[in-house]
């Protein structure tokens, strides 16, 4: 197995005696990267160190390499569950709890159990195993993470039904990213190491495309990097309760952008710029238009507002329309409610009459929102574009 392994968070093995077991997840971008393989190798290593290791559930998918590596590790038999006219095989949770090994290997964390067993989802079974003080090694593909499901469906065109709440990954003591290049994975697929020969062509034509895999790999790398960031902050904070530390950590790493918009065509550029910035920061984006009470929109403004709403929706931003006379006060109120860390605004209209005596909006916002960055997006550059291809 040539897969690279990036071990990102690695507290020492504490064993499960007396408390909750240690939970390690092998995370990958797709099937075939070598998550199960690494999990088994880790099982062997622990066995050699004299620890009591068993395989609670293993999915070999007919891969000879995987089956071969499982040899020598004690495996608990699956239990048979009758569902309607079919007999299904599931992990035997009671048997694991009765056997009470030090370490249990449980493949495919996102699996949905057959009806009639203790839990609907395998990750819930794993919680019971951990609660019994047993260390668990498990595997997960990044597209099964709930928050990434829509994004990955759009990336790959394949909807994954079996999802795992992000909190499950967050609760893992260690997340080990199993990384291979998309080219290497496709070579493995072509060599028949991932799926049986009859499924290879279909896989290559659908999910296993270089562009899909590259995008998934990026998502996996980012996800693990974010996990590391959040965990580091939690580790660095001492003396506070676990819940408050987690909340502080989320706040500490969580940027939130607010773009101030008005319904006219030039504001679409501001929204696009704000979206790019939000993407780079991995932050959510809100758009806010503060309209004066009773103001009626012209036909053109209504069209612009509708276009802004559609743009916000396709970008995944939230658009808010509030009525107020005191615009800075309303913006400050919304920013406080939404937990905004960054405000983006256009240059604003040229003031006339007494309006010229007023301080510019950005200055008033800076006064009202200490700690919030305010960025003024320049008007569109009128220099000629240079590409001709």
């Amino acid at each position: 197995m040539s897969g690279g392994q990036i071990e990102l968070v690695g507290p020492p093995d504490a064993g499960g005696a007396g408390g909750r077991g240690q939970f390690r997840i092998f995370l990958g971008m797709a099937a075939g990267v070598g998550k199960t393989f690494q999990m088994l190798r880790e099982g062997h290593a622990q066995l050699e160190h004299g620890r009591d290791v068993v395989i609670g559930l293993l999915e070999t998918h007919g891969r000879a390499e995987t089956l071969q590596l499982a040899e020598g590790l004690p495996t608990l038999a699956r239990r048979r569950v009758r569902y309607r006219d079919a007999v299904l095989e599931e992990m035997d949770l009671p048997a694991i709890l009765t056997r009470a090994p030090e370490i249990c290997l449980i493949d495919e964390l996102a699996h949905t159990n057959a009806p009639g067993v203790e839990h609907t989802k395998r990750y819930e079974d794993v919680e019971d195993v951990l609660a019994a003080g047993i260390d668990v090694l498990s595997t997960l593909n990044v597209q099964h993470l709930e928050s990434l499901n829509d994004r990955i469906t759009e990336l790959s065109g394949v909807r994954v039904r079996e999802t795992v709440p992000d909190a499950v990954l967050g609760r893992a003591d260690e997340v080990v990213l199993i990384d291979v290049t998309p080219t290497a994975l496709i070579e493995r697929l072509q060599a028949g190491k991932v799926y049986p020969a009859e499924r290879v062509e279909s896989a290559l034509n659908n999910f296993f495309k270089i562009e899909n895999l590259s995008a998934l790999r990026e998502v996996a790398l980012r996800q693990v990097a974010e996990e590391v960031g959040a965990k580091r902050l939690v580790t660095e904070a001492n003396g506070a309760s676990e819940e408050s530390i987690a909340a502080d950590a989320a706040r500490a790493v969580g940027e939130r952008l607010l773009a101030l918009v008005e319904p006219y065509p030039g504001n679409q550029r501001l929204v696009r710029r704000a979206w790019r910035s939000a993407n780079r920061l991995g932050a959510p984006l809100d758009l806010l238009w503060v309209r004066h009470p009773g103001r009626t929109l012209t036909g053109e403004e209504e069209r612009s507002l509708r276009a802004l709403r559609e743009l916000a929706s396709v970008l995944g931003a939230t658009i808010l329309v509030e009525e107020a006379d005191d615009v800075p006060a309303k913006i400050a109120e919304v920013a406080a409610q939404r937990g905004t860390t960054y405000i983006l605004m256009g240059r604003g209209r040229t003031q006339r009459g007494l309006g010229r005596l007023r301080r510019p909006l950005h200055e008033r916002l800076i006064d009202r929102l200490p700690g919030v960055d305010v960025r003024i997006v320049a008007d569109r550059a009128s220099r000629p574009a240079e590409d001709e291809r």
Binding site: E154, Q268, V314
Partner: protein, 188 residues
């Protein structure tokens, strides 16, 4: 008329001048947004990573001649597995910079531009939804045109059903120039 009257009139005139200067926007003109608005709307739909430079130039010429606004529209296709109003960040990674590039180019030519985004189950569906919401005077599509995602039958549908002038640009061997996201100048 006494000297004092002349002085008083001069002072009054000066005060009126100062007041007007204070009240009116700079440079003695109305803000661009409030000036006479273009009445015609030229739609330039696209879905890919680049649009034909020839289609853009046709839109620019017409916009200039007719005092029209160019309306580039990014058509996004929503997979059946997602709700129709789902965010599409991956497609937007291509579409948004290209909108920016088109807007920059139009602005550099002094032309008004007003972008649109529309989603649908197919590119035709996205275009249909946009056309249901807004009226356009002209629609410019170059054929064959991978960048719009529209097939031949979509073009026939467009000609049959849409109450706008449809300009289909004939393919030309020399038509290899494109406007792409790589053409965004400056920070985006």
């Amino acid at each position: 008329m006494s000297v004092w009257n002349v002085v008083a009139i001069a002072l009054a005139a000066a005060l009126v001048g100062v007041a007007l200067g204070f009240w009116l926007p700079p440079h003695g003109r109305l803000p661009a947004r409030n000036r006479g608005r273009p009445v015609r709307r030229i739609l330039l739909p696209f879905s890919g990573e680049a649009i034909s430079r020839r289609a853009f130039e046709a839109a620019s010429r017409l916009a200039r001649a007719e005092n029209a606004v160019i309306m580039p529209a990014f058509l996004a296709r929503v997979p059946m597995s997602l709700p129709l109003d789902a965010p599409l960040p991956v497609q937007c990674e291509n579409g948004m910079p290209l909108l920016e590039a088109i807007e920059q180019r139009a602005t550099s030519l002094g032309l008004p531009v007003d972008s649109r985004v529309s989603r649908g189950r197919s590119y035709r569906d996205a275009l249909r939804r946009l056309l249901e919401q807004e009226d356009f005077d002209r629609i410019i599509v170059s054929v064959p045109e991978a960048s719009t995602g529209l097939r031949d039958d979509d073009l026939l549908w467009l000609i049959d059903r849409v109450p706008a002038e449809i300009m289909l640009l004939r393919p030309a061997r020399s038509d290899t120039r494109r406007i792409s996201a790589a053409g965004v100048s400056g920070h985006f």
